[in-house]
């Protein structure tokens, strides 16, 4: 049997660094320790992308030139995607946006960006997944179902492992709590600590918990056993090292009053010691936020104008797709599958470029498609884990195409 290569999985933003991959003749033979999602990632997609212009197959140079032409001609180009690319490709993308005077945004725009922003500007305290593993005694999955989105979350970090301060493991040393609108796979593991709330009931539940913490009787407009809220408040107060994992269920439910998160955390931390970690999905979603922030001071939704980079909701991908952008380049994403059809319909009317290792729904309507090597499989680099830790990603097999970074840089050469 061949010697395995230790690999960091790019299947999700947990970036598991202990995967063993057996490779023979530049092909993956077997993968160990990766979950089903990671396995699908290693074995690659069945339909790899091809170079096309107007849906006709061309050589890659022609496709790149055509992409450059489209972007050069556009008054308001949008560069979108990025969460499935290495940081190196993201940095190249940001430079291209600057060169073009374009808008740039990532999937974090309608995902965990809002939470990551709170952490990056210091409004809420955060910690690393290693801290969670070694120290956490109380973990809360709020509007999050890691068993469905980040399969190894509980086994690798947040619940099952024995940590330095949690030697007896989950049975005695850790309490896992789930707050959700349905008894998810994660809630099932949290057993007696599952709090079922109505859709949109998160903000009220948060306020009720704050009341409970402060020793007031919680009031709720929906039916909920107040005693259980008080019990939960008592568990939170007693925690030595608590962590809240914020899922999209919570983000979407309180997005209109997101300040509540920092208010809740500071109230909680008057009594206890809690940290917040966003459940970013795609492997390098958080990397984009870090890289753009380094360059512009903003984490997403940025327009490069004559007066420098400007942030704003009008530069978000959805607003730009509805009205604004007159050409779009998508890198490593499939907006036709992941965004509302009511918004992506307009992509059929404006010039659309797709850079992706795989053929997807968006490639079926794109004016130009450019294949690239799959990040973390054929292309190495760095990425930022969901807790903000920078990770090295080494390539597994030799690809025969360009990396997404190279594609972006080639386009840049042609436009400038």
């Amino acid at each position: 049997m061949t010697e395995p290569i230790t690999w960091t999985c790019t299947g999700c933003a947990l970036l598991c660094e202990d995967i063993q991959v057996f490779i023979k003749d530049n092909r993956v033979e077997k993968v160990e320790h990766a979950c089903l999602k990671g396995k699908a990632r290693v074995y690659r997609c069945k339909h790899t992308a091809i170079s096309t212009v107007d849906q006709d197959e061309v050589d890659v140079n022609t496709a790149i030139s055509q992409a450059a032409k489209i972007l050069e001609k556009a008054k308001n180009p949008l560069l979108y995607g990025w969460s499935n690319s290495t940081s190196e490709a993201q940095v190249a993308g940001i430079e291209l946006a600057q060169t073009l005077g374009a808008c740039i945004d990532s999937t974090s725009s309608f995902c965990q960006g809002i939470t990551i922003n709170e952490i990056m500007n210091g409004s809420v305290p955060s910690c690393t997944l290693e801290d969670v593993r070694e120290k956490a005694d109380v973990v809360i999955y709020w509007g999050a179902d890691p068993m469905s989105s980040h399969p190894r979350h509980l086994s690798k970090y947040s619940y099952f492992p024995r940590g330095e301060l949690r030697q007896r493991g989950y049975e005695e040393d850790r309490t896992a709590i789930c707050i959700d609108i349905t008894e998810s796979r994660t809630a099932k593991i949290c057993k007696g600590m599952f709090f079922s709330i109505p859709p949109g009931g998160d903000a009220e539940f948060m306020r009720a918990l704050m009341d409970g913490l402060a020793g007031r009787v919680p009031k709720l407009s929906y039916d909920f056993d107040v005693k259980r809220i008080l019990e939960l408040a008592a568990v939170l107060k007693k925690a030595e090292f608590g962590v809240i994992f914020v899922g999209l269920g919570l983000v979407y439910s309180i997005k209109e009053e997101f300040d509540l998160i920092s208010e809740f955390m500071s109230t909680l931390n008057k009594f206890s010691n809690f940290f917040l970690i966003p459940m970013a999905g795609h492997f390098n979603m958080r990397g984009f936020n870090h890289n753009l922030h380094e360059k512009t001071g903003f984490i997403h939704r940025v327009a490069f104008t004559k007066n420098g980079p400007v942030p704003g909701v009008e530069y978000s991908v959805v607003e730009q797709l509805k009205h604004g952008a007159d050409a779009v380049m998508v890198v490593g994403s499939d907006p036709l599958a992941s965004l509302p059809l009511s918004i992506t319909r307009r992509l059929k009317d404006i010039p659309l470029i797709l850079v992706d290792p795989c053929s997807n729904l968006t490639s079926r309507v794109a004016d130009v498609t450019i294949p690239c090597g799959a990040s973390g499989i054929e292309v190495g680099g760095t990425a930022v884990r969901l807790d903000g830790r920078k990770m090295d990603i080494s390539p597994l097999i030799r690809g025969n195409g360009l990396s997404d970074e190279m594609v972006v840089r080639r386009i840049m050469e042609e436009v400038s």
């Binding site: 179902d145 989105s149 859709p199 999209l248 979407y252 499939d334 965004l339 729904l361 079926r364």
Partner: protein, 135 residues
């Protein structure tokens, strides 16, 4: 063509709120083959409370049309193995549920959860991925 009488009798319509969520099995098969049958099987799906399905006269595995102000698709209805809150339907992230989502985005974030829609039993086949592209 034979006259299908059933076609003219309108099946009752019910209001539901659709919540989109993730699923590791769907994510893996769709990553492997976005256009495959397995991806369709696990994506073109809505999960409902079993008792409520009974009340609506929807059999486990039946095709249902979901229609919102923004679009309409036919998917398979499945009974949840657990009791769910009344009036909710769960769908896995993907183009099927996204066909129903509003384009109103005051804060730059679409309403992916709490999608207001109507559900009816449907005789039509499940909306295929090619059809979605034409919608």
């Amino acid at each position: 063509m034979a006259l299908d009488v059933g076609k003219f009798i309108k099946a009752p319509e019910y209001d539901i709120k659709i919540i989109s969520r993730r699923d590791v099995f769907q994510a893996s098969v769709c990553e492997e083959d976005r256009f495959g049958d397995d991806c369709l099987e696990l994506s073109a799906l809505i999960v409902l409370d079993a008792a409520e399905m009974k009340h609506m006269g929807i059999l486990d595995g039946a095709n249902v049309r979901l229609a919102s102000k923004w679009g309409s698709v036919v998917v398979r209805a499945r009974a949840s193995p657990r009791e769910e809150q009344k009036g909710l339907g769960f769908m896995v992230n993907g183009p099927w549920v996204n066909a129903l989502v509003s384009d109103e985005t005051p804060d730059g974030i679409p309403t992916f959860k709490y999608i207001e829609a109507k559900i009816t039993i449907s005789k039509d086949g499940i909306t295929g991925i090619q059809e979605l592209l034409l919608l």
